[in-house]
């Protein structure tokens, strides 16, 4: 046999960063099972998540100027091989996901000890790591079918994580089952959509699909693909009429799972929606534009009002926040539906700001579960005095949810209103402000319960341990920091929006 020497320059660690990003949690997951130790499960998980966080910072620094990194899996060049492709838009999402997972994990150690039985700890953290690597994979990959695979990895892990809430409340099992059904339908629709695109273009690489759709122009197969993908991802995003799985899933899942999912899972799905609507399909694709203007925009407005309205009448803090999430996703979709650079910037900024706000709030809910053993308003009466640190963080998070100046929530709503005015859509701008007033009501109800009502005489509730309070406050302070210093978030979001709106050219 002949021996041939193939010239090859060795790749450095920096070249491998896109692969390492996903591999860190992915390899750690089976490792936690093999080690099988309850004690080591948390440290190993935290280590993987923190390292992934560092990697995502390094990646964002490389692409913030608008450049693109492309990594060829297995050395097979795209469009045939699977490509990992990092640009400003998904580097920003990667940063959000890893930052939130690291923060939530800090909080999780005590919370999981309290809410999940000890014999499940190792497998619980394994499922968490798989969920994390799935979400990272969805964000980083440049291959349509790969998105589906990673979406399923994260979703299946999510169902397991939600079901772990059954230690506290058996309804977690039905909530998880509902989500399993809805999530599977969503994933099926998504893969059918990809099938249509594959039929029309003969390729699975996102950039390649985009290029070929441009040449093909508008046809019925492409339209059907678009429709299936929007509905499929809409289910994962919890777009208004497809949101029914969300309230129960968030309410009955263990606290740290809710905090993590609220901050990341729907956000990653929004990213996929952005990627398909703007990069794969041309922004000038008339069918897509009409879908945004006549279907997504009205539904987003309905979500903002109806979900906020339902949130007002809840008597459970966790459930109230779940409904508020649906309303906030309405704002993000509204930003996308504006189909302008400012609108998409608003969507991406809100994706980030709402992520940190909800993470802080849901972690605070976890602290109430830990100390007060409940999240119903009548359990939480007077907690402002008994758990002052946690409750103060809830105030900050609540203000950010409303969009009070000086908090992160204000920035995203400001950009959103700006986008509406830019288009001259005064009524929409007015609706954004009006729906914020509904947020004032539901946040006020919580503050009233926490601070205005006396605790019961016999109550001996103490402040949650510092290992929980500190992550909550990191989240709360981030809400304030990103409300004052908008340089990082707005710059990254604007670069991302420009990249996305450049359409298929943004992918080449």
């Amino acid at each position: 046999m002949s021996t041939e020497t193939v010239p090859h320059t060795a790749m450095t660690l920096v070249d491998h960063l896109p692969a390492i990003q996903v591999l860190l949690p992915f390899v750690m997951a089976p490792l936690v099972v093999v080690v099988g130790s309850r004690r080591l499960a948390w440290p190993l998980t935290f280590l993987a998540s923190a390292a992934a966080f560092v990697v995502s910072i390094l990646l964002l620094m490389q692409v913030i100027d608008g450049s693109i990194i492309s990594y060829h899996m297995g050395g097979w060049a795209p469009p045939l091989g699977i490509e990992y492709r990092v640009d400003a838009a998904n580097a920003f999402v990667l940063l959000l996901v890893t930052a939130m997972s690291t923060l939530v994990l800090l909080f999780a150690r005590r919370s999981v000890e309290d809410e999940v039985s000890a014999k499940h700890h190792a497998l619980f953290y394994t499922a968490f790591l798989l969920c994390l690597s799935g979400l990272l994979g969805v964000a980083i990959t440049g291959d349509a079918f790969n998105i589906f695979v990673f979406l399923e990895i994260s979703s299946l892990a999510t169902y397991v994580l939600i079901a772990q809430g059954s230690e506290r409340d058996k309804r977690a099992l039905t909530a998880s089952y509902d989500y399993l059904m809805m999530g599977t339908i969503g994933a099926t629709f998504f893969v059918i959509g990809i099938g249509f695109l594959y039929m029309a273009t003969g390729t699975l690489n996102l950039a390649d699909i985009a290029g070929r759709i441009e040449d093909l122009g508008d046809n019925r197969t492409v339209r059907a693909g678009f429709a299936f993908i929007v509905v499929g991802i809409g289910l994962k995003v919890a777009m208004f009429p497809l949101h029914s799985w969300l309230p129960n899933a968030y309410t009955y899942a263990p606290s740290m799972v809710t905090a993590f999912l609220a901050a990341t899972a729907t956000k990653v799905a929004v990213y996929v929606l952005l990627r398909f609507v703007f990069s794969v399909f041309d922004p000038d694709f008339l069918f897509g534009t009409n879908t945004l203007a006549f279907i997504i925009l009205p539904l987003a407005v309905v979500a903002m009002f109806s979900a906020s309205f339902v949130a007002i009448f809840q008597s459970d803090l966790k459930r109230m926040l779940a409904y508020s999430s649906i309303a906030q996703i309405g704002y993000i979709l509204l930003g996308i539906a504006f189909l302008s650079e400012t609108g998409v910037t608003a969507a991406i900024v809100h994706l980030f700001n709402h992520g940190i706000t909800k993470a802080a709030l849901f972690m605070a809910v976890g602290a109430y579960v830990f100390s007060a053993k409940g999240t119903f308003y009548d359990t939480l009466q007077g907690m402002g005095r008994q758990m002052p640190l946690t409750s103060a963080a809830v105030v900050v998070g609540g203000l950010s949810l409303i969009g009070v100046p000086g908090t992160a929530g204000f920035i995203s709503k400001w950009v959103l209103v700006e986008a509406a005015l830019e288009k001259g859509w005064w009524p929409v701008a007015l609706l954004i402000v009006l729906s914020s007033l509904l947020a004032v009501i539901y946040v006020w109800r919580v503050l009233e319960v926490l601070y205005m009502q006396p605790a019961s005489e016999s109550s001996t509730v103490r402040e949650a341990p510092m290992s929980m309070v500190i992550p909550i406050w990191i989240g709360a302070l981030a809400c304030i920091y990103f409300g004052l210093d908008t340089d990082v978030t707005l710059t990254a979001a604007r670069t991302a929006a420009q990249g996305l709106l450049a359409g298929s050219t943004g992918l080449h």
């Binding site: 090859h8 060795a10 491998h16 692969a19 390899v27 089976p30 093999v34 899996m73 297995g74 050395g75």
Partner: protein
Amino acid sequence: MRHHLILRVITKLLIGSIMIFALYVQFHGDYSPGGGFQAGVIMAVGFIIYGVVFSLDEAQKVLPPWLVHKLSALGVLLYAGTGLVSMFLGYEFLNYSAMTPDHPEHGQHYGILLVELGVGITVTGVMVTIYYAFTSRTPIMDDEAW
């Protein structure tokens, strides 16, 4: 105890050939139809039929549940580990050419064998886990828990 004599004798005879066939499908996956997934399922069938005919306890003596869990994870580690090795050798993740840089086709061969072995181990583990989970029927919660 003496029931189903024929079933038990035939099963004992079959298990060996089932497992050998599984290994054949495993390692000939790159030349003929087959590969890690199919081989894993066939291998699992060997254990499942033993459990069906000789009772779950007997099967779990051979392959205890904890070992099955570790096996499922080990297969994934073998797969990812193959990729990591090529990464440390300065090639892309899962670029098997890294194993024999002088002759990339050989490297591709070794790589796919290792990766498929990982798939096979994991699929065996998962299939047996599913069988155990359905058969062991320990009530997940007692009546009071509701």
